[in-house]
Symmetry: C2
Subunit: 320 residues, 2 copies
């Protein structure tokens, strides 16, 4: 039977365990599992990797526990600007939106740009207008706001006023969600969605909607979705570099992703993580921070969920 | 003496010779030469590659003969939305703006984003506001309009109405300007600026402001600026792929750029071109269309200018 696999991340800015209550951690993990299972159900039924990564990301966009969709970070102006991208590794088709304000599920809009327009990337109001025209759900900007992000913004503004902004944790600042998948037909896909970071400048676009930086997929090589300080991911073309290391330098997925996270990005002293899958269905999810919400199911169906270093195994998903 | 070099392009959408008068061709070539000489003067005096590529691009942005700054393409709504990016290969720092409407010289704003903000990419109104705050010249959107672009838009809309849009020439549709340089200190830089394409959707962002797609520079490897159908350049991560072929697969600049333009992009049946320079100061400017406005000066100081297949030599620039 051809291998199938799904890998997800909910951002490398996981707060220390003591900063959230047990109920929050339990719900975060439940949503990670729900995301994995939504994607697996599609893959196990012979569905497409593209549908699987979209489904996985939608669950995390709808959850308040991740910085994407509902629960997204707030800009310095106290509003939400959302970025997302999706790529399919067979035809290397891609779609993305940036600085959108009204699309309930940004990843669906990215896919619509890929499938229903001649563009790859649409910015700002045009992205919102396109999503409306494509029949996608739109919402008031306040739909995305949660109390936790409001407090984080207030805390960051206070630190900035006191000049102690450098002490802000990754958890207060960053976050992204993403998914990668391999389907039974051998096609790879990747998807990434984010609200950026708390207190980000209005109009700032990070790596998540940039093909090659935050998202990349190519059949026969790998699919990658990144999380971390987006500016460096753009400058280092991180997602595509993982593929280039494998395709041109013959590195394995493990070598290529470890080199990126632990050599290149750690060398820049930034928090970074990614999830990636290769053409054989091996999933890797390295990170250099305190924790990264993540999960994966490889061909054997074993469900793995984690928020910090330790990994929980939660039974085995059926192949159907 | 350490080698220095400058290479520029004015887009791969050069119209057939008979479509423009002799005076227009003469002025186009004069502006290409002026662009080269502005950059060379900086490099020959021991100046920075970053200053050289900015100076070269500013000349082309100010010229009505190229699709960037004054002379930029018009969107479907009859306005201008400008994209630009710049990258310096020593620290791999980068800056970019997209969908801007009021910045007289978009490449200067890209550089300001790189040097005066924590961002790499700013979109839309925020880019314009940032440029104003950085003290850069802003202009009414109509400053960018030329009669030629107005006619091209009308012609494209007429073709679209008649259903013969596929017959539109590259010249009616695309265009970009860009520059790459090597300075005496061994630093490489690249810069790209564009109005996109005539009749483009509002909010559409192409490859020009995307680091890795339209622009890339890394010391010891190469600097690259691209022109062509931007969506494919994003999907193929073209500028960074040239560097990856050299860095990981040991290809020469000529092998890497020829593979991209004549194998990968021609295989997709799209018009494409680029200008690139390697760490030894070799310049390459391959394209697969009727013509690409371009020019280069390598270490020997010989000035080369071209609009179609044939290349003119215009004397030798002094090293100073």
């Amino acid at each position: 039977m051809a291998p199938i696999a799904i890998g997800i991340h909910g951002g490398c800015g996981t707060p220390a365990r003591e900063l959230l209550g047990e109920a929050d951690w339990a719900e975060t993990k439940a949503h990670l599992e729900q995301s994995l299972r939504a994607a697996w159900a599609i893959l196990a039924a012979g569905g497409k990797a593209l549908d699987a990564v979209e489904a996985a990301v939608v669950v995390m966009e709808d959850s308040p526990h991740f910085n994407a969709g509902h629960g997204a970070a707030l800009t310095e102006a106290g509003a939400h600007e959302l970025d997302a991208s999706i790529m399919e590794g067979a035809g290397m088709a891609a779609g993305a939106i940036c600085a959108a304000r009204a699309i309930r599920n940004p990843i669906r809009a990215a896919r619509a740009v890929m499938e229903k327009s001649d563009c790859v990337l649409l910015a700002g109001d045009a992205a919102d207008a396109f999503a409306r025209k494509a029949g996608l759900a739109t919402v008031p900007n306040s739909y995305f706001t949660t109390e936790r992000r409001r407090q984080a913004l207030a805390s960051l503004k206070a630190r900035a006023a006191r000049g102690t902004i450098a002490m802000a944790s990754e958890a207060e600042r960053h976050g992204t969600v993403g998914a990668v998948a391999l389907d039974a037909g051998g096609t790879l896909a990747a998807a990434t969605s984010t609200g950026g970071f708390n207190n980000k400048p209005v109009g700032r676009v990070g790596d998540s909607p940039i093909i090659g930086a935050g998202t990349y997929a190519r059949n026969g090589v790998c699919a990658v979705s990144c999380t971390g300080q987006g500016e460096l991911f753009i400058r280092r073309v991180v997602a595509y570099d993982v593929a280039a290391r494998m395709h041109y330098a013959g590195q394995t997925l493990e070598q290529a992703t470890d080199a990126q996270i632990f050599d290149v990005l750690t060398g820049h002293q930034i928090g970074a993580g990614l999830v990636a899958v290769d053409a054989a269905g091996h999933v890797r999810a390295p990170f250099n921070t305190l924790g990264m919400c993540r999960g994966w199911i490889e061909a054997d169906g074993a469900i793995h969920i984690a928020t910090h270093k330790d990994v929980e195994r939660r039974g085995v998903a059926a192949r159907g």
